[in-house]
């Protein structure tokens, strides 16, 4: 099947093609559709470390390809993919003990954001959000990203991350307080 034909297919059909015919082009089309969102999310979770986020995104897609036969068509592909991405991110954190910087540890953090000369106004917002999220521990960071940026519901977050609904609500309530305090400390 030609690449331009693949762009018209639904995701379920692309998965079926990739699995039943071992069609890597079909999988490449899925990657095309989701790479931007996934890479952006991972940048937000890794304190805007572009190289690391892209590496994690590559690992996520490779893992997704290996487990493609297990994908249930009833689920949203993006949710399934994000679940793998979150697990890849968490594995990385456990291996490398990614920093969860707090404002108390690093009071100059806010100034760094305000002063970043190499960023335009839009990218400054992304960096600022990433820095703010980096003050939270990884699981809470992912929950807050899914809730505040992706606008997923509590139940969707619980399903994606495989954590109890009560834990999601706790993360959101406590995380919001920390982020609001952090934002206030940076002067809004």
């Amino acid at each position: 099947m030609k690449r331009q034909d693949l762009t018209t297919l639904e995701e379920a059909q692309l998965v079926e093609l990739a699995v039943s015919k071992n069609d890597q082009l079909a999988f490449a089309e899925l990657v095309n559709r989701h790479q931007s969102n996934l890479r952006y999310s991972l940048r937000q979770l890794t304190d805007w470390n572009e190289a690391l986020a892209d590496d994690l995104a590559q690992d996520t897609f490779i893992q997704a390809f290996k487990e493609l036969a297990k994908f249930r068509q009833q689920a949203k592909f993006s949710s399934w993919l994000y679940r793998i991405g979150y697990n890849v991110f968490l594995q990385h954190v456990r291996k490398k003990a990614l920093d969860t910087q707090s404002l108390d540890d690093n009071p100059l953090l806010g100034n760094q954001i305000e002063q970043g000369p190499e960023h335009d106004e839009a990218s400054e917002v992304h960096h600022k959000v990433a820095k703010l999220l980096a003050t939270l521990e990884p699981e809470r960071r992912s929950v807050l990203h899914l809730f505040l940026h992706r606008q997923n519901t509590h139940q969707e977050i619980s399903d994606i991350m495989g954590v109890p609904l009560g834990t999601v609500k706790t993360h959101i309530n406590r995380g919001r307080v920390v982020l609001q305090d952090g934002l206030q400390a940076w002067g809004g």
Partner: protein, 122 residues
């Protein structure tokens, strides 16, 4: 917008910050991302994966059937039932101490369960 976000207001600086990030989210250019990825994809035999999952399920079913048959043949059901019946106490006195102990046990279990769910280290 989901139901749980209806309490948000435009005045909340945190929501305003995330809203502006969401609106300004860039469409990240593919460049060579997909090409590198497709080149590094491992060879996966999806048909073999499905076949192996089917075989695993068949072995489980066969094992369960054999186990049930053996239990039916070798276990003396009459003595098993009478042993269970023997475990049931002839009388049960609900004393204040028993009630307090039961409430304490349920309370303690609830606290432990809550702590395990909420504590991030688990």
């Amino acid at each position: 917008m989901n139901n749980e976000t209806t309490y948000r207001t435009d005045q909340d600086p945190l929501d305003a910050l995330f809203a502006s990030a969401r609106q300004a989210q860039p469409d990240l250019m593919d460049h060579s991302f997909t090409k590198i990825l497709v080149n590094s994809l491992p060879k996966v035999n999806f048909m073999a994966q499905k076949e192996s999952a089917r075989k695993g399920l068949s072995f489980d079913l066969i094992g369960a059937v054999i186990g049930l048959l053996m239990a039916y043949i070798f276990i003396d059901r009459a003595s098993l039932v009478s042993a269970f019946v023997g475990l049931i106490p002839e009388s049960l006195v609900i004393s204040p101490l028993l009630v307090i102990s039961a409430v304490a046990a349920v309370g303690f279990s609830s606290v432990v369960a809550w702590w395990m769910v909420e504590d991030d280290s688990f």
